[in-house]
Symmetry: C2
Subunit: 441 residues, 2 copies
């Protein structure tokens, strides 16, 4: 019966890493897509003819897997990639990043910076990302043009911010963004992002939580990022940052805690109890010397964890393959235990549980019938991916973003044979480079 169905797209001749709960790996796999949805995900046989389809993609003996989910970034900050490095955090932020943002951010620059990041993410196999920034409408326009899936959040901070000169209006502005983008695009889910417990008042946090709850949106916040923040919050509120957020009632299952580095056992228990999601941005947290988030403890306590790159101003790229590699290795050396954060676990963080952490677990994160067709193909015909004993090991420890050959989002081919189909790279590079010249001057 299935043979009569005409699929929009069939991907074949690769090993399928489903990243489903059983972690099934399908030799000579077959993925059939219609209406943006996965209709068949199965092991092929040499004898079966291919199902009829409008388009067939030959994975050429490569790897077919879910698109990577970047659970934390500020896409437009690619504008500031490499502007300042190796500095104390306060100097980096106050002397460079905040100044550049105040002077140079506007809808156009945010739009162009986001296009640049979308191009980078698509070419390196990320199909979904979770963003928080200012002028988020411009971010959404760029993401639509790129054809990516995203959770986009307007930033909330109790200072005059780009596009929101009056902090009293910051939550209202976020509410307006959510309303404007709700149901507008199938790939964009709006939300809000409170900057941190030390830059948002209790009132702001509570009000933002209400707005998010009313809309059923994700509430994101940077929290427990630095030792300084921990001390500050303890001094001000008598409890840890996590306990403080819990006490004022903003933690629930539609919450993404970003960083969560300086947490103790009670904090972790609280996070598990409130069923929050966590985003760990290993490479950026290393570069800024923030600390090491206890991923193994989070997982042992049943907390849903995703990986993120943070922005390219502090990473300095958006390659989720490198993020997996470094994340896996960092926890091993920190504990002097090579068995923690193994390859399967880390690949799961970058796909299925990452999707769950940002509230998209029902739709994406694994290749299973009924889920959205967000998938990537990895070209394994490379010296650094030869020989091939273990596909999962290669994805975490040997591959990099440049090994991605094809990217499909919502059933649509957006990268083909390493060429980006949705955006014009030259135009984007020119506009960003022109702006960067002014910023540098």
């Amino acid at each position: 019966m299935q043979k009569d169905i005409v699929y929009d797209l069939v991907v074949h001749n690769g090993t399928v890493l489903t990243i489903n709960a059983g972690f099934d790996i399908l030799d000579r796999g077959l993925v059939c897509i219609a209406d943006g949805t996965l209709k068949r995900v199965e092991k092929g046989t040499d004898n079966d003819p291919l199902p009829s389809a409008r388009r067939v993609i030959d994975a050429r003996d490569g790897i077919i897997m879910p698109g990577l989910v970047n659970t934390h970034t500020h896409a437009a900050m690619s504008l500031f990639r490499g502007l300042a490095d190796d500095l104390p955090l306060t100097s980096w932020l106050n002397d460079y990043i905040f100044k550049a943002e105040a002077r140079w951010l506007n809808p156009e620059s945010v739009y162009n910076g986001t296009l640049l990041s979308c191009a980078e993410m698509l070419l390196s196999g990320t199909t979904t990302f979770c963003d928080g920034y200012f002028f988020e409408d411009a971010v959404a326009e760029a993401v639509q043009e790129a054809g990516m899936r995203a959770i986009l959040a307007q930033g909330i901070i109790d200072f005059p911010a780009p596009g929101v000169p009056d902090p009293k209006k910051n939550v209202a502005e976020a509410a307006r963004f959510i309303e404007g983008w709700s149901g507008k695009s199938p790939l964009i889910t709006p939300g809000l992002f409170c900057h941190s417990p030390y830059t948002c008042s209790q009132e702001t946090l509570k009000e933002a939580r209400k707005v998010a709850d009313r809309a059923g949106s994700l509430f994101q916040i940077h929290v427990a990022e630095t030792q300084k923040e921990l001390q500050e919050i303890e001094q001000r509120h008598g409890v840890s940052p996590i306990q403080y957020l819990d006490r004022i009632g903003v933690l629930n299952e539609k919450t993404l805690l970003v960083h969560a580095i300086w947490v103790n056992e009670s904090d972790i228990a609280c996070m598990a109890r409130r069923r929050v999601g966590v985003s760990v941005a290993t490479e950026s947290e290393m570069k800024l010397a923030s600390g090491v988030a206890p991923i193994p403890e989070f997982l042992r306590n049943g907390i849903t964890v995703g990986l993120g790159t943070d922005s390219s101003a502090s990473n300095n790229n958006l390659d989720m393959f490198q993020e997996m590699d470094t994340s896996a290795k960092l926890h091993k050396v920190k504990r002097l235990d090579p068995t923690v954060t193994d390859a399967r676990q880390v690949l799961t963080l970058a796909t299925r549980t990452g999707a769950e952490a940002i509230g998209l677990g029902e739709q994406i994160g694994s290749l299973e019938v009924g889920k959205k067709a967000d998938l990537i193909i990895i070209d394994t015909h490379k010296p650094h991916l030869t020989p091939l004993y273990d596909h999962v090991s290669h994805m975490v420890y040997a591959a990099s973003g440049s090994d991605v050959s094809d990217v499909i989002i919502d059933g649509r081919l957006v990268v083909q044979d390493k060429a980006l189909l949705t955006l014009n790279l030259e135009t984007i590079a020119k506009s960003v480079t022109d702006l960067a010249r002014k910023i540098a001057a």
Copy 2:
């Protein structure tokens, strides 16, 4: 006068990172090569015509810099890439690696595995590597074919080893290798590699040192790699591994200590006094959970440090760009100080001081007139390298091996526009894949 000279090769239209002592960066740089040697390295002007040359390479506004120096690997172990991961060190070694080596290593497999690693290293911008393994003659044959520069060392261990069934002959075998390859090839410098202070007896170490000194060769040894080794050596000899090696007289300026993780202040002082070089293999040391070598202390004490990938069985690739990135970030997060191991310092480790650490500092490691013409071109027309405020930052924090477009070794173009000119990738992949099938079975 210089205009009359005909160069073999001229590279122009890129920013030259010289990595000389003054860290000069030359806009619109010009590099002129004759007889395998750098004849001119200078800033160009738009008005000057190009010097006459047999071949001209346009760097297309990219980055021109010294080829990367991988100071520690076992190239042939690419045969075992991804064979076993995430295991306790003893199980990984005893149940997988040693068994596979004993069964599958022979001159042919070592030759093919080395070719594979040379292909990977060349395509990712490494022009020189420092190797230690067994059947090192086969390694040397492969390196010659690849057209790479290398320090190659026959391994010495007091157990029956691949190709050296009788441990009593291990030093003699290494001496034979040195003699055989001395002066044979301009790109290959032979040396020897004692496996470790716990697998080589005092007599073996002293004898090997004598052989190395007589030949003026580099004496390499893995040392202070794990906490277990530290305890074992302290128990057996009453001092630390470094102090033990010093006491038996094997440390001098022609020594490369690999790893040197579990070292104390006296060890570091001793290393500085003996003027040894150190190779740190950050990513592999993280993956095997060995520990973190104190690079900032080494540098503060004037010790010459290089970076290495270790083998792709424990990394699992040979990408020195990723190695730089991770090395820079690891020390920041370990000390909670974002200013340590900055981009310039780390790029220097991967080039100039890496070359010094393996005894090639006079010949390579920077782009300076009189040095050998080992250089690479990086294509910066990529989303993840846009915009470009700081070339050095991009090389350490944003680039990866796949951004390398051209590679020149000893004045010879070996990679052109990402295509490997010296080796046949398909043939190599086929032979390694065929062997891997047997190993996996």
